[in-house]
Symmetry: C2
Subunit: 351 residues, 2 copies
């Protein structure tokens, strides 16, 4: 990359500034890093003259090589950055993390655990600590954990790494129970990433058997147990797999579900993005909510309460998750935590 030449005739280093100001390098360094090590007057003079010279502070690379710290925290996202920026939950999480990083004077480097190996690996040694959001690529995760720096896992669990989670099973069970208790009729379940497939489709009885710790599986189990508890069976062909949590895919699944016969009376959705899509499809199909259809969401994203009708859902404070995770990075004595969730009853499903 070419660079604009300004008042710089040669590379301006701390050493050079020291020479020009007639003081030692240590003094310049102290002026920038340890105000208490020199007189206020001298420091002021150095700072202003350095700026006049065009020197705006020590090189980050040299500084962090020498100190062994970069003041940068890496946030490793399970999916591509691109995807995460359009996911409301990820945004809330990042927001929470950002708040705490600012408080602690750290900067935020965004990484993806699916990132192209070679190019990203070089950057992995930069941060002083890591927050992983969502179950990452295993090799990436292990590599980073081996660095021996503080690591916090959000929304998944791994031995020897502290984590921030919610009880997905319990939250799903409780919310579904509340809704089902007061609403008879057929049930459909819409969830993201239940199986390995990149298309919207229904499950098979085989798919149900597989159990795992993944979020979607936990929620599925919660919904199914709540239904079973009322002697209501949900057959696999009434459960939709949605490959990615986007409005487009969700609408497709919702349309399939709401046009099947017999039509469902209750839609249990594993995310608000899905539930909101379902509400839109219901409107298009002239199905009245909650009179003819109850819709349950999960997450409580900002749009959930703004929707008409407002969405009944489970609130998980994603920003708070981010804050807690970031604080764990700075306080190594904190243990893993399971954050509480709250069932929020609004208009889309009466209780």
């Amino acid at each position: 990359m070419k660079s604009v030449v300004l008042n710089t005739q040669k590379k301006l280093t701390l050493k050079e500034v020291a020479r020009q100001l007639g003081v030692s390098t240590a003094t310049i360094s102290n002026a920038f890093n340890r105000p208490d090590q020199l007189s206020e007057a001298l420091r002021a003079r150095i700072l202003s003259e350095a700026a006049a010279l065009g020197y705006h502070g020590p090189s980050h690379a040299a500084r962090s090589l020498r100190r062994g710290e970069s003041d940068v925290i890496g946030v490793v996202l399970a999916d591509s950055l691109s995807y995460n920026f359009s996911d409301p939950m990820a945004n809330q999480l990042l927001k929470g993390i950002a708040d705490v990083l600012v408080e602690n004077k750290k900067q935020m480097l965004l990484l993806s655990s699916r990132g192209e190996a070679a190019s990203q690996r070089a950057a992995e040694s930069l941060p002083d600590g890591f927050i992983f959001y969502g179950a990452p690529d295993t090799s990436c995760f292990e590599r980073i954990v081996r660095l021996g720096k503080p690591v916090v896992a959000v929304d998944f669990e791994q031995e020897a790494v502290r984590s921030v989670n919610i009880d997905n099973y319990q939250a799903a069970y409780t919310s579904a129970e509340s809704v089902l208790k007061s609403t008879d009729g057929n049930i459909c379940i819409l969830g993201m990433r239940i199986i390995e497939s990149d298309r919207v489709c229904r499950l098979t009885s085989q798919d149900i058997l597989c159990s795992s710790q993944e979020i979607s599986r936990q929620r599925l189990k919660g919904y199914l147990d709540a239904a079973a508890n009322q002697n209501r069976n949900v057959s696999p062909d009434r459960i939709w797999h949605i490959p990615v949590n986007t409005p487009e895919k969700a609408e497709q699944a919702a349309r399939e579900a709401l046009t099947m016969t017999p039509r469902p009376r209750v839609l249990l959705c594993m995310s608000d993005v899905i539930a909101l899509a379902a509400l839109r499809v219901a409107t298009q199909l002239d199905i009245r909510v909650p009179e003819s259809l109850s819709v349950l969401g999960f997450d409580d994203i900002p749009a959930a309460s703004q929707m008409q009708p407002a969405l009944t859902t489970v609130c998980q404070q994603s920003a708070e998750k981010g804050r807690v995770a970031a604080r764990m990075l700075f306080d190594e004595s904190t243990d893993s935590v399971v954050l509480p969730t709250r069932f929020i009853q609004r208009a889309s499903a009466q209780v």
Copy 2:
């Protein structure tokens, strides 16, 4: 920060690995950075043995000190990171930037131009280039520009710095013209950050006079000119200032506007966030859109087309803005560009 001790008895450096594997440091370095400089077999052996030893690649700090490049790009946001994560336009922009950075094997460091000076300044020398989103704090901007590294400005203009913009005046003028042409009656304008105030309020005639290059001012001028062109005057007390582009503040302003007498027949909103809030308030007040009220937005965020009724608005491809800006960083021969916008007619305002 304490660190977990694993199979590491002492600090594992490239040099140490070289010693243990019985080869030179240059060879190890080449194994990681220049595959063509040694035999495939040797490289494979080195990589695997190094990993076994617990060495996962060169230190970023040392590497970037030596090379003078970090492979990190800084994205400097005008507001706090926290705010940007809840702004749909910012998310789209970041998404676009992320796509191009991944292609070019760069990592993304998030900075705020309002960030606490001291803590952030140290990190400012890390990136190889910068994208500024939104008019930044002047001192931060100047400091970074002086670094002499590639810089691209998005949504504002500054001498000597290439930028990516849209024509806010024109877009506002054209869209307002289309809507006003077919709809008589009173007009209200709702915009964010028109004046310096942290409360929702109406403008005064004095406020109108001040002109600036800021986005909101440009859009305001566009709306006012389009109205004037039809001999329709919009008095200052029919123009609302909203301090921050959030649904809450926007709803407050929309409620004030929609309950005033005489009630407006047209609402020109400077963002979709505001326009969508207005649509919700209209629903609450039983005002029919578009029969009794036309609402015009700006941005075309994803939620705009999902709303009932769908929002008539101006599409500015924010993700594309991000992509273009990022590409400019890597191709210094590109000049500033003004991206086109498109008027999108949907249900909230008939044309």
